[in-house]
Symmetry: C2
């Protein structure tokens, strides 16, 4: 099965989970010692831009606690509320009403809740900030959207795990331009709903037929659904995917099965040769390295057959740029078990190589910054986002995002997030901020009102489902709306069922 | 505005809610005295078939209580369980396990729950029974599906109120063949979700583009969404739509607005002249007469402009058949404010006339049977169906059906149903049967398992939402699956959280 070329080069499906540690977990991939010279496929400019962006995002959230701490001690002073609002404007760039800071001797400010509220508004401010995403818009000088289409895919749908360590999956890990991502919805364990995915495919296909967008339905391109699971190379048994019991094999196999079900759903419910492309990708959350499970000539993927970017990184770091790219191409072809010039598989192989090349730059960036894996292996998310997705601000450990239409169906995902963030936030003595986000199409009459009703309903359901945590001040839930097309977040009042902060303002719970 | 012809004939928009009763309610339309001679548009054969069917359905449900009553007294006799199961097979044609009837001296049978379980299985048996629906398949000898398409509509989507008095809306009141109804989903007050309706439209359009089903997208036909509200001509202030406070104007205006929002959603989110047809219809639940709000030349409808079939009935009962049909055509044209040969509106006018003609036969059937309005004006539903729709068994007051994807979003609709049926069932001393129905496409791998998970989740949510009623034995919740394409109902076990009946069988709660 395994071509000699791949064995010799040691790049493709490197007898992956052999030898295995306890519980069938793969042992850590040896991490090359930090080198002063960058990898030939490093992208210094893009990585520097992403690093600056990441630092700005981190700094914005880190500033919240000190700002509130300095205010807490003065809360009973005369004229405090106005001064506090002014200070927040100055220090955090947040516009909040002075009423948030009206403390009484028998009702001091609820600082854990205020922290959560400021975190949510900091997130909203960063969304408004509109980070430049041009670093990923082209690849070797060509516009990526056109490239991807030329290689056979008219839409890319990415389903990662809800885990916050994948919160930078589009911008940082895969470095795919957000504009080419038709859908990005996250679920605990990446366990998406097949029927919902089918509806997304139908919506995209109808646009192609009716409007020729993004290309005409007569073009022989396919819808590509990418499923992203994750694992920890450093602590595989503890820092893997919580939804799959930190079992990498299970995480990969479950997602692969779900992807295959989706492909079968399209083929069996639509005639005329309807078909989609699917791709399984694993992320090592310690290094941002990926495993790309390249489909073979029959389109089949396997859990234990993949190209690992960490190994590729080591194998190509001393090569010239073109030789490194050629090594990627060869590794992908070897993994697929086809010749490097096989026409039938070239589109998918190009895409796999594109992801791997992008990811090598990210692996290099992480390594350059930390001299090895991320120092923080575990969770450090700032907030939970439930409801509709939002991708304008991306960063590892930014948010635990679980997409759902109701808390009733997403209760399990939400519980994972609350458990994960709860532990960390309890230590810090602040409430876990939960943002219920509902998007709407402003062109549809009544859409905003219906979105508001959905947001209020889901916020109430989150509070109801986690009533004890809300009553204990450990969870702070707010709802926001967003018009499609990149508008700002609009916080909305929802029927209050959480601990009162006493501010009496509209947007308060 | 109002053509003289219409005024003279007194058929079209007959100054409809003038004079008004208290609260702006229309006064009752005078009901013609029962005549021995049938209406020229009566359909004796179809009406007789529908009457036989209705009688069979009523008889099946009515037999449950006496059968159980005769068993209750003997529950402690030796060998009772087997005999009881045999008796149910004989008397109700139900196959139930003897374990249902294992009573102990300190745990007698829960007869209110057993009644609910037998009602649910009677419903399932009637679904399996497969009633002949050929009475509506043709109109004046022509196949209706082809006719409707020829008149410009490739799909008919009907959204009635969840109220059980509309449970016969397709088969009895509108007499439309079920096969031409692409979607029928009910909501309290008929308040459907615009975004979901848009997705249904998209799914239908994609089939047309990809597969030419039911016709090619190049054909200039439209998707027709019919919204059905209801009112009571006899007790307008009490027996109207509960979701709209028994306010007919509000029920009609709210639904009209929703339909207009749907039409705008299609037009504004899809290019290339995408558009749909919408039609507002009101049902008088006392007589099954309808109000058809015929769109004018601009496609505009008004709450107070419609053709009323009760008036049409009176106006045409002494005419010959062809003259009566001509009177309908003229009434529709007058209501639309166009000439009877206006080409631009002829498709919609044909459809309105088709509904009115069908409905006259139903009005006649009700009148012939009861000599006037239904003797039971209020609610008398046998069960509540939530989740996915089921239309194989139709009959006035059969089921309160509220479609929803989660109880969280449909809680309001469910509450209306529980309140309505609760009052009646409490009087009778039996539990309200709630069926959580989930449909699935058996061609999609894993679809049945996901449907089962959804069914279990929703059944648990219904029990949770109405915990006191469940604990008090007033509500009995079961879940069933159904493969698309008319398969039988499959009752499934769900995590039990309801009062134990002690039977220990799989399908028990």
């Amino acid at each position: 099965m395994r071509p000699a070329a791949a064995r010799d080069r040691g790049l493709a499906w490197p007898a992956p989970w052999q030898p295995r540690g306890a519980g069938g977990m793969p042992l850590a991939v040896a991490w090359p010692a930090a080198a002063s010279s960058a990898h030939p496929l490093a992208d210094a400019a893009a990585s520097a831009a992403l690093r600056r962006r990441g630092d700005e995002i981190e700094a914005a959230f880190s500033a919240v606690a000190p700002a509130l701490q300095s205010l807490a001690e003065r809360q009973f002073e005369a004229g405090f509320a106005e001064r506090a609002a002014a200070e927040l404007r100055h220090r955090l760039d947040l516009e909040v009403p002075p009423a948030w800071f009206e403390a009484r001797w028998n009702a001091p400010l609820d600082m854990p809740a205020l922290h959560a509220r400021c975190v949510l508004r900091t997130f909203a401010r960063l969304v408004e900030r509109g980070f430049d995403a041009s670093h990923a818009a082209s690849s070797d000088g060509e516009p990526v959207a056109a490239l991807i289409q030329r290689w056979g895919f008219h839409a890319v749908d990415i389903t990662p795990c809800a885990d916050g360590r994948l919160a930078g999956v589009v911008d940082f890990i895969l470095r795919v331009p957000a504009a080419v991502v038709a859908y990005r919805r996250s679920y605990a364990g990446a366990m998406f709903d097949v029927e919902e995915a089918l509806a997304h495919w139908e919506a995209v296909e109808l646009r192609r037929w009716r409007e020729g967008r993004p290309n005409a339905a007569s073009e022989p391109t396919r819808y590509l659904k990418v499923g992203v699971y994750h694992f920890s190379s450093v602590e595989p048994a503890h820092e893997g995917c919580a939804a799959h019991g930190s079992d990498t094999s299970r995480a990969a196999a479950s997602l692969l099965e779900r992807l295959q079900q989706f492909a079968a759903a399209v083929e069996r419910t639509h005639c005329c040769g309807a078909s989609v492309a699917i791709l399984l990708v694993g992320v090592d959350t310690d290094t941002d390295a990926i495993r790309v499970h390249v489909p073979d000539a029959a389109g089949t993927m396997a859990v234990d057959r993949y190209v690992c970017s960490a190994r590729l990184y080591a194998a190509t770091q001393d090569l010239a740029r073109e030789a490194a790219k050629e090594a990627i191409r060869q590794a992908v072809a070897d993994c697929a078990g086809v010749a490097a010039d096989d026409a039938a598989t070239e589109g998918m192989r190009w895409f796999c190589g594109y992801l791997l090349k992008n990811n090598l730059a990210q692996v290099d960036a992480v390594r350059a910054r930390y001299g090895g894996p991320y120092p923080e292996r575990g969770h450090d998310e700032k907030l939970i986002v439930v409801g509709d997705p939002i991708d304008d601000v991306q960063l590892r450990n930014l948010a635990f995002q679980a997409q759902m239409d109701s808390v009733e169906e997403g209760a399990g995902d939400l519980a994972v997030g609350v458990r994960i963030l709860g532990a960390r936030h309890r230590e810090l003595g602040v409430a876990v901020p939960v943002l219920v986000l509902q998007r709407y199409d402003a062109r549809i009459p009544g859409a905003r009102e219906r979105a508001q009703a959905r947001a209020a309903r889901m916020a109430a359901a989150v509070r109801d489902r986690h009533a004890a945590a809300v009553a204990g001040g450990e969870l702070w839930v707010e709802a926001a709306l967003r018009a499609d097309g990149g508008a700002n977040l609009e916080f909305v009042a929802t029927a209050a069922a959480q601990r009162r902060c006493g501010c009496g303002t509209e947007s308060c719970g």
